[in-house]
């Protein structure tokens, strides 16, 4: 039997080992769930890798985070399904906060710059678009490499807060760290109470959930308590802000949350 060893980067190998399935290890996350694949066939050798598929993305995300931190920039990854109101919330956010904090916006969009155009003239220090269609067929999320390229076009010395508007999608963006300091999610009450249970990865990833479009509640059969119960069951620690980007309700609380994240990074101001 070959020797199993773990490298400093968390990956491990078994070298020259025909029956790697016999390797055992203590990490609970890699518990043996039964042998699904059998041994390597005759004439082949099984090599154990145990490499996190997101390790390359996470490495670049860490680089991005370091670069942002060194520049004194707080980055927030803003995620939601399409149409939940990210861009409208950003518009009101810029109108209220851009005079106190210099805000940059990195817009992830599959193919257009329509969202970025909506933000023009509202006081953002810089707006940059990252079209994800450069990849294979148009990615449904921003990953750390795309954000790295966007950061290259962002004047980091002239901003304090970077809002990364992810591609509208409740599934994929949550899997990819991009170097953000905090993650915010916009959820609209038109989406249904059960969404936290259907998209737990996204709801678990959020530090704050902005429950948007609450001005529509009188016209909907939406059960807010049921939604909040579902949210708590998948993410007990998420902060919740009830808001309407249209009427402005709750937007001050959201802006205060953003300002707090920035203050955490730069307690003495920037």
């Amino acid at each position: 039997m070959g020797r199993f060893h773990v490298h400093a980067d968390g990956t491990g190998h078994v070298h020259e080992l025909a029956e790697a399935d016999h390797v055992h290890h203590d990490d609970q996350s890699m518990r043996d769930v039964g042998d699904h694949s059998g041994y390597a066939e005759t004439g082949s050798t099984r090599v154990t890798i145990l490499e996190n598929l997101l390790s390359e993305n996470d490495r670049v995300a860490d680089d991005n985070a370091g670069r942002l931190h060194d520049a004194g920039v707080c980055a927030v990854n803003l995620m939601s399904s399409p149409g939940a109101g990210k861009t409208t919330l950003l518009r009101t956010t810029l109108q209220r906060l851009a005079e106190q904090i210099r805000i940059g916006v990195l817009e992830g969009d599959i193919a257009t710059r329509l969202d970025a155009d909506q933000l023009e003239g509202l006081g953002a220090a810089a707006i940059s678009v990252v079209n994800t269609s450069a990849g294979f067929g148009g990615e449904c999320h921003l990953d750390a490499v795309m954000v790295r390229s966007g950061l290259g076009r962002m004047p980091l010395d002239r901003i304090d807060l970077l809002i990364i508007e992810n591609v509208g999608n409740l599934v994929c963006p949550a899997e990819f760290r991009v170097g953000e300091q905090a993650r915010a999610m916009v959820y609209a009450v038109t989406e249904g109470e059960e969404k936290p249970l259907k998209y737990p990865v996204m709801f678990r990833a959020a530090d704050v959930v902005v429950v948007n479009k609450v001005d529509l509640l009188p016209h909907l059969d939406f059960d807010l308590d049921a939604f909040l119960g579902n949210l708590t069951s998948v993410n007990p620690t998420a902060q919740v802000i009830l808001a309407s980007a249209r009427t402005g309700e709750g937007v001050d609380e959201w802006c205060a949350w953003l300002a707090d994240r920035h203050a955490e990074l730069a307690p003495t101001g920037h």
């Binding site: 066939e41 004439g43 990615e139």
Partner: protein, 112 residues
């Protein structure tokens, strides 16, 4: 549909560790809390494994159940739903033991 991006990462990892030797099988572990659709992943693999070192390599998926350990009563629960609570006492003070895996577990290489 991030399965294609994940397949790309699987292929990159497998190729790196194969050092040019032909790969016959790649085994990955995917936790139940990951929103990866097995059919979509296998379909994407057909695209990614069409050429090079990985041509014709089989992708084997091991799905890892989500298991939590309760801080209050010490019981372990395998989750059917992504609700992080204890099946024995109903408490929410639980630690996730497994279910978030997204790993290349092993590759099978043709002997030199």
């Amino acid at each position: 549909m991030h399965e294609l991006a994940i397949c790309d990462a699987i292929a990159t990892s497998a190729s790196k560790h194969a050092h040019g030797r032909p790969v016959t099988r790649v085994t990955v572990q995917i936790g139940h809390l990951r929103q990866v659709v097995p059919e979509a992943l296998l379909f994407s693999w057909e695209v990614v494994s069409g050429t090079g070192d990985l041509e014709g390599a089989e992708l084997v998926l091991e799905q890892i159940p989500a298991v939590v350990l309760c801080h209050d009563c010490g019981e372990e629960t395998t989750l059917d739903l992504p609700i992080l609570s204890c099946g024995a006492c109903g408490g929410f003070e639980v630690k996730l033991l497994s279910g978030e895996e997204l790993l290349v577990k092993s590759i099978d290489l043709v002997d030199a």
